[in-house]
């Protein structure tokens, strides 16, 4: 489930490494270079907007995974901490004297502090137990604060929310943060710092104890740790980084509404994190990137993107509880054995027909949707660059045949794939 470090007690160097706060530098340098270089590849404004949204989701998902993946606490109201952090930042932005004397890049810290403050209050009673009770309290508190946002107009701004202007801050080395690209680098800087800090947190003794409490609270108690306080620390730290994400949201969009607090946003972040994989540190990053792409790109193509995302989510929970990251890390043992090549041909034989079959299924779904919900008389629809009449029988036959043949081939080649998989995971034998 988790990225456990297995140590050999006979080797002191390795034993040291498990407890110390070492940071493998390679991936982080690559990540930093990527963060800095991406705006040169995707230069358009929409590209920058999507990337900003992506990185904000990354921070939020990583903060959420501090609870779900590392602490084993399932929260149904985590958007509240990000939202409150964001609202606080908005108010700071509108406070003219204070904000004018402070550079903008410091703002997310205040978002984090407010998120942490709320987490301190709520965590004081909600972290007494994990599991269902924690999930229920988080749901109740989430709903409560989301409902308050319409009532307490002074802080949450009621229905229309609160908006501000990030340009009023003290210029930061001559930067006013008026253009999209400047905001991008601000966001990227904070994403990098937060990710590093959260990674280091997971290496600290308290981060390690969070894993222990997740797996076996009773045993952790016997070792002399209070599982309640360990959960509390994780919760507060997670609240801080969620607040940072909220602050970045405030800077990027310059408006916050009830939507940032409600149960739907909390649900989305759960979906993102689980899709990416809760067992590995990089899982939520992957989930945030993939989900944002699916959301922005797929929603341009089809009205049914939420339906596909929901199906993908349920399928992930049922068949790949490790998420995307788990799926990738499954291939590490074959790689170590040098037998990844064994899998290539069976993968091509199974996955390509399966993908074609699923695309056929999607076109059937799209055609049904068009048939039922298009305006009367509108028989023409475009799917995969072909335009046809959805009320004639031919497209249905083609789509149905593609689905059946694709999934049929995938089904017949699946046993061979399974065999190849077993072979790839066994040392020795034929290459």
């Amino acid at each position: 489930m988790s990225d456990q470090i297995t140590t050999d007690p006979s080797k002191p160097a390795q034993r040291m490494r498990a407890g110390s706060m070492t940071l493998t530098l390679g991936p982080w340098i690559v990540a930093a270079i990527l963060l800095a270089a991406l705006p040169f590849i995707f230069t358009s404004n929409s590209g920058l907007t999507i990337m900003n949204q992506m990185w904000i989701t990354v921070v939020f998902a990583l903060a959420y995974n501090m609870l779900l993946g590392q602490g084993g606490m399932l929260s149904f109201g985590h958007a509240v901490y990000a939202g409150v952090g964001g609202f606080a930042c908005m108010h700071i932005m509108n406070a003219s004297d204070f904000f004018a004397s402070m550079p903008l890049p410091l703002l997310p810290i205040f978002g984090g502090l407010f998120g942490m403050g709320l987490a301190l209050i709520v965590g004081a009673f909600s972290t007494r137990s994990a599991g269902t009770v924690f999930a229920m309290i988080s749901l109740g508190v989430g709903e409560l604060i989301a409902a308050c946002s319409v009532i307490i107009v002074a802080f949450f701004g009621g229905e229309e929310g609160i908006s501000g202007d990030r340009g009023e801050a003290l210029p930061f080395f001559g930067l006013n943060f008026w253009s999209q690209i400047e905001v991008y680098y601000l966001t990227a800087f904070w994403v990098f710092i937060s990710a590093v800090l959260m990674y280091l947190w997971s290496r600290t003794p308290v981060g390690r104890m969070a894993n222990a409490v997740r797996d076996n609270p009773e045993r952790a108690e016997f070792l002399g740790y209070s599982s309640r306080w360990v959960r509390f620390y994780s919760f507060v730290a997670s609240g801080f980084f969620a607040g940072v994400a909220g602050g970045l949201f405030a800077i990027n969009y310059e408006i916050l509404t009830e939507e940032n607090l409600n149960a739907a946003s909390s649900g989305v972040i759960l979906l993102v994190t689980f899709l990416g994989g809760v067992g590995f540190f990089f899982g939520p990053i992957l989930g945030a990137i993939v989900f944002t792409l699916v959301q922005t790109v797929l929603s341009l193509e089809t009205e049914l993107w939420a339906f596909y995302a929901g199906s993908l989510f349920v399928a992930t929970v049922m068949f790949f509880p490790g998420g995307l990251a788990g799926l990738i890390m499954m291939h590490v043992p074959p790689l170590r054995l040098g037998k990844l090549g064994v899998l290539t041909v069976p993968y091509i034989k199974t996955l390509i027909p399966a993908a074609i079959g699923i695309l056929g299924l999607c076109s059937l779904v799209e055609m049904t949707f068009h048939y039922r919900h298009a305006a009367t008389g509108d028989h023409e629809m475009t799917l995969f660059w072909t335009t046809f009449d959805s009320h004639t029988i031919l497209p249905w036959i083609i789509a149905g045949a593609v689905t059946l043949i694709g999934l049929g081939i995938a089904r017949t080649t699946a046993p061979a794939l399974k065999e190849a998989w077993n072979d790839a995971n066994t040392a020795g034998g034929k290459r």
Binding site: L68, G72, L74, F76, F125, R128, S129, G131, T132, V133, A135, M136, I137, L139, G140, V141, E143, L144, A147, C148, I151, I152, V153, A154, A263, G267, L270, L271, F274, L304, A306, F307, G310, S311, F313, V314, V317, M318, P321, V365, F369, R372, H373
Partner: protein, 318 residues
């Protein structure tokens, strides 16, 4: 006095409707130890199936057939979905039902669209049963009360007096022993899940015409149902009944009596500040009870979870 009576009846209708959902949910919880997030989605499916069937068979046909279909769907979900996820532990189970709730909402929007469906109650019940001081009580409300009470009675009878009920109760506490005695426990679990969702389906069919049949109806009621069974105590049927009625009455009374926060605070001796418009707590002073009626159950739940985590009637501390 007459208003109190009318509100009592309205609260009873809301409470009993809640109870039909929470009874199934609490049974499923005590059986599998997992809260079924998608429970309210089965309620929504009940309403939509009811609407679709009522077009062909009329309301009474729908009331009979739709819950059966919902129950079969629920049993299928348990057999092919939950049982599979069960091996990964409780948190993935909770996440699975959450994902299912999302998926069912999208599915309903996919099939029926986003608009409200014109689902109407039966013509036979379209009259005023009686009137209290000018407030007429429609016969449909009386019918709802009647149905819910008879379901509660039936459930209580089956669970406590029949052989099937005894086996279910035994399977809830000692599944391994019951299995050793030769009963098919997975089948019992599937059956209870099916019956629980079918109850939600009944609630959907009879609530659809009153509360509206639209894609958001599961979301509106969903979290309140959780709140109900948490307040009542997870796994307790009587707790679910008491909590449902409590919530039904609290929200109804809060909505119909306009109690202002200012009056309450003045009543306990706190004077209104002179300049309210600049005060940080101005919204707090302006609160009225209809405004906060919908969040009262959540406040109650958080308080219960802090001071009595096992709920009003709960025995175990999870």
């Amino acid at each position: 006095m007459e208003l109190i009576l009318v509100n009592l009846i309205d609260g009873l209708v809301t409470g009993l409707l809640l109870f039909m959902l929470s009874a199934g949910l609490t049974l499923i919880f005590s059986m599998m130890g997992v809260l079924n997030f998608a429970h309210a989605s089965f309620y929504m499916l009940g309403a939509y199936f009811g609407y679709q069937i009522s077009l062909a068979l009329g309301f009474w046909g729908a009331l009979l057939v739709a819950p059966v279909i919902v129950g079969i769907a629920g049993a299928g979900v348990e057999r092919y979905g939950l049982r599979r996820v069960h091996q990964y532990g409780h948190v993935p189970e909770l996440i699975f039902t959450f994902g299912l709730a999302l998926l069912i909402e999208e599915l309903v929007q996919f099939i029926w669209g986003k608009n409200q469906m014109p689902f109407n109650g039966p013509e036979v019940l379209n009259f005023t049963a009686f009137a209290i001081a000018g407030n007429s009580i429609p016969a449909y409300k009386i019918f709802m009360i009647f149905i819910s009470i008879s379901i509660f009675m039936g459930l209580l009878y089956i669970l406590t007096k029949t052989r099937v009920g005894m086996i279910i109760q035994a399977a809830l506490s000692y599944p391994r022993t019951v299995e050793a005695l030769g009963h098919n426990v997975p089948l019992i679990f599937m059956g209870v899940f099916g019956v629980g969702t079918a109850l939600a389906g009944v609630a959907g069919v009879i609530a659809g015409p009153v509360l509206g049949t639209f894609p958001g109806m599961a979301f509106v009621l969903g979290s309140i149902v959780f709140v109900t069974i948490v307040i009542g105590g997870l796994g307790s049927l009587w707790g679910a009944l008491v909590a449902s009625l409590l919530i039904g009455w609290i929200t109804t009374f809060a909505k119909s009596y306009n109690v202002e926060m200012e009056a309450v605070l003045n009543g306990i001796g706190i004077a209104t500040p002179d300049d309210l418009s600049e005060n940080l707590f101005r919204d707090f002073w302006a609160l009225t009870s209809p405004q906060i009626a919908d969040i009262l159950p959540y406040i109650l739940m958080v308080l219960i979870l802090i001071f009595r985590p096992q709920g009003l009637f709960g025995k175990r501390q999870s």
